[in-house]
């Protein structure tokens, strides 16, 4: 922020973001009761991402932060995405061995 911003202006800016966040909160709460089955989690997480985006972009001012600070923040997100995607890839694609597999080898050297 450059120059002297008046208190009324800065409180109004913060109130506008707060209003948007509150509307998103009401939407996600309503969405939790919709009969949309497996789409509930993706919907809730999409709204959460929108809320997080508002907080990061405006309240935390990531756009105005220096290049190194932005890279540091994005690295955090990248590692979490790697952690999640690699773990879930393993979990969802691992071959389940049939019951009794390898039992015929029991007792052999």
């Amino acid at each position: 922020m450059s120059g002297r911003e008046t208190p009324a202006r800065l409180w109004r800016r913060s109130a506008l973001v707060w209003l948007a966040l509150s509307l998103l909160l009401a939407t996600t709460l309503g969405g939790a009761y919709l009969p949309i089955g497996v789409w509930k989690l993706p919907l809730a997480l999409t709204i959460a991402a929108a809320k997080a985006g508002l907080v990061i972009a405006i309240f935390m001012g990531l756009g105005q932060a220096g290049g190194a600070a932005r890279i540091a923040g994005l690295c955090g997100v990248l590692w979490v995405l790697l952690l999640l995607s690699l773990s879930m890839t393993d979990q969802t694609t691992r071959q389940q061995l049939p019951p009794g597999f390898g039992e015929d080898r029991a007792g052999q050297p």
Binding site: L25, A32, A48
Partner: protein
Amino acid sequence: MTEARHDPFHDIARQRHAAELGLWVFLASELVFFGGLFVTYGLYRYAYPSAFEAAGAETAIWLGTINTAILLTSSATMAAAVWAGEAGHKRHVLIGLALTALLGLTFMGVKGVEYYKDISESLYPGAADFPVDMPGAQVFVGLYWAMTGVHAVHLSIGLVAVAITLWRVRAERFDWQNTALLHVLGLYWHLIDLIWIVLYPLLYLMGRSL
């Protein structure tokens, strides 16, 4: 008022950049720390989808929603305090910080009521009369306690930091206008809010129906 610039920085702009970068690195490490809990949630949810829905419906959705609204509001008051600091409006910095501290305390109060309710309803892992008789349900509740507990620890640290900063700004103990301290404090507080924004749908919105 003490000198704003500290060694080894040649000028205040560099010092601000260093403080800001340092805090973003810390926030990234915090994200990965909570990432471990998110992955645990993901893996167990994949393994026990219906137990997670059933146990998720047992959490106190209204208390969770009220607390989400409180925390979102506290982020707005914290942002106003930081912006007022950059513009040099001391009174508004103090108002913003005081409101943030008050909202943070209210969050902890509501959380305390919720924990009391959870315990009286046997909603904790290993409870003799645990309400959901499905494999995996106790894992969800274990994650609920771990995630909200670790979050509450972060919020308590934030509360102490906000209270100390409020006192120091009021007493002109440091150059709140030129140093990055208010900004850095704001970043930490917003991180607490961000984590809760993700925890809320995972812990409170699952398994609901009219």
